[in-house]
């Protein structure tokens, strides 16, 4: 009898604990639903807030996608790259011309030009302004160079060709000149820095927009907050609907940014692929991808929540029943 009683007591406390937990989640769900209903009840105002957040999130996302594409492109092709073959000193101009001609017959090589030591010295003179230095030397120190351009724009193919040519007996050293690609990489790095800054500024903008919207919402519900506090509502209970509203604004802004970005990418796909085809690349324009889309939505919701949180911290505690 005694043990039975205890058992049933334990069971009951378990049940109430579970009941309390269930009702905790029920409450959160209910609050979230009510927050959503409240946003939908003022569609124009809500839409304007969401639009501002969406545009603020769209800009960094668009920059991110363009950079991603440029990076992938620059890694995959090397339009305008050159291979310089520095010849052994004992190779005469005549021999060098023959090598150049021979190389040109290879399929992988689109063009080949021989620059003799004399030509190189003249060029050096003309461009560097240090001509006197070479004149002062007894012998021309510059080697003969064959400048080739690979017919393939694939960087792996170019590397293989470079490796092969560097083993030719007449060649002292071979160099792949990726100036174009290097410049692009440097440019991308710079853009990356700039876009990180842009992202931070726009994240701040989202915080301000949501914070201000929530501040107005708090003002509009001042009487209600007073009543809730009078009957024993904690600050976190009062804050909860506003935090949900902030997160919902941010999430909706993220969805809008994603939609706009998808539309932009779709409209760019045709012309971009045409352009790429001109460079005989089969590269396809990339979108955000599933993982990054998820990050965009999460980040939107988080920024919205944070903006609401800051606003709530500032304004809610000032409202006390008097």
């Amino acid at each position: 009898m005694n043990t039975r009683k205890r058992e049933s007591g334990a069971k009951q406390s378990q049940r109430t604990a579970r009941g309390a937990l269930q009702s905790h989640w029920q409450q959160h769900l209910k609050t979230a639903r009510e927050s959503l209903k409240r946003l939908l009840s003022t569609p124009t105002a809500s839409l304007m807030t969401v639009a501002v957040i969406g545009i603020a999130l769209l800009l960094p996302s668009a920059v991110y996608v363009s950079m991603n594409n440029l990076q992938a492109l620059s890694g995959g092709i090397n339009v305008g790259s050159q291979i310089s073959l520095y010849l052994n000193e004992d190779i005469t101009d005549e021999e060098a011309f023959q090598i150049s001609e021979r190389l040109l017959q290879r399929e992988q090589i689109a063009s080949s030009e021989y620059i003799s030591p004399a030509q190189a010295a003249a060029e050096f003179n003309a461009h560097s302004g240090l001509g006197d230095v070479i004149d002062a030397l007894e012998n021309n120190p510059l080697p003969g160079v064959i400048v080739l351009s690979p017919s393939s724009i694939d960087s792996a193919a170019a590397s293989t060709l470079l490796e092969e040519l560097s083993h030719l007996p007449e060649v002292q050293s071979a160099q792949l000149d990726l100036q174009w690609v290097e410049r692009l990489q440097a440019f991308l790095q710079l853009t990356q820095r700039a876009s990180t800054g842009l992202m931070l500024i726009l994240a701040l903008a989202v915080l301000f927009v949501v914070g201000n919207t929530i501040r107005l919402a708090i003002e509009g519900r001042r009487a209600e907050i007073v009543v809730i506090k009078l009957v024993g509502g904690t600050n976190s209970y009062v804050a909860r609907p506003f935090l949900y509203a902030g997160a919902l604004y941010g999430f909706a802004g993220g969805v809008l940014a994603w939609l706009l970005l998808s539309i932009i990418l779709l409209s760019l796909r045709g012309p971009a692929n045409e352009l790429l085809a001109l460079y005989s690349s089969d590269y396809q324009l990339q979108g955000l991808g599933a993982a990054n889309s998820l990050i965009l939505l999460t980040l939107g919701a988080f920024l919205g929540w944070l903006g609401a949180f800051i606003s709530v911290r500032q304004h809610l505690s000032a409202i006390e029943p008097r």
Binding site: G19, S23, V231, G232, Y237, E320, P321
Partner: protein, 230 residues
């Protein structure tokens, strides 16, 4: 249950709202708080609700010293006290049922349990049939009943009321007071601020009289109270 120990309250600007007030309300007692407007009735109730804090003296409720209560404890303390306001303090964007359910919602009651208690409270004040209506569509007396139902829905041990009959005609006022007496009969301690002397002297309960912040009389159903409003 409620004990004031030499309590004084002065508002910024110098108005002395309460001046060295001493009294004790025991468990299950019902008392009226009377006096002219500005005598300190509302301030006294606000001190119990922790809407204000005393500068001098101590207020004990349920054995707890309110001076020592931290801001984080206040909401949980307020849940144990029911309050009825003269201006009802209802939420006009939700119906009668949801207004009464608010304290239970805040405490996180499971829905079926909350529903049962809300209906019981509404039944007690005679508004069960109007649970779906919006407060704005109801009369002043009915709105006051919503406020009362909300104040008792989580079965507090203490019920405070600030001029609960202030805007009601004598008949409705008597009805409301009768309702309060019923709660008192089941063990709820009650402190009701009212300047309606003719009404409260008819009910045979303890009457505390304030004048300019001082407690000038503490007596049982006196017919005439000097200094009190007419």
């Amino acid at each position: 249950m409620i004990k004031f120990d030499n309590v004084s309250k002065r508002y910024p600007g110098g108005h002395q709202a309460l001046n060295q007030v001493n009294f004790e309300l025991v468990d299950g007692e019902m008392a009226f708080l009377t006096g002219r407007s500005g005598a300190g009735k509302s301030t006294l109730l606000k001190l119990i609700m922790l809407m204000e804090k005393a500068q001098q003296g101590q207020v004990f409720v349920n054995g707890k010293n309110l001076n020592r209560m931290s801001p984080a404890q206040i909401p949980f303390y307020r849940r144990r006290i029911g309050v009825v306001f003269q201006d009802h303090q209802l939420l006009f964007d939700r119906n009668v049922f949801d207004n009464v359910a608010l304290p239970l919602q805040i405490e996180g009651y499971p829905k079926h349990e909350a529903d049962r208690r809300v209906r019981a409270a509404l039944d007690k004040v005679g508004l069960l049939k109007k649970e779906k209506m919006l407060p704005i569509t109801l009369s002043g007396g009915e709105q006051q009943r919503i406020g009362i139902a909300r104040a008792v829905v989580n079965r507090p041990k203490i019920l405070l009321a600030d001029e609960p009959t202030g805007n009601l005609d004598p008949e409705l006022a008597a009805e409301i007071m009768h309702l309060f007496e019923q709660f008192n009969q089941v063990g709820v301690s009650m402190l009701i601020a009212s300047h309606d002397l003719s009404l409260i002297t008819r009910l045979k309960h303890r009457i505390l009289t304030l004048d300019k912040g001082r407690l000038i009389q503490d007596a049982y159903h006196t017919a005439t109270v000097p200094g009190a409003g007419r």
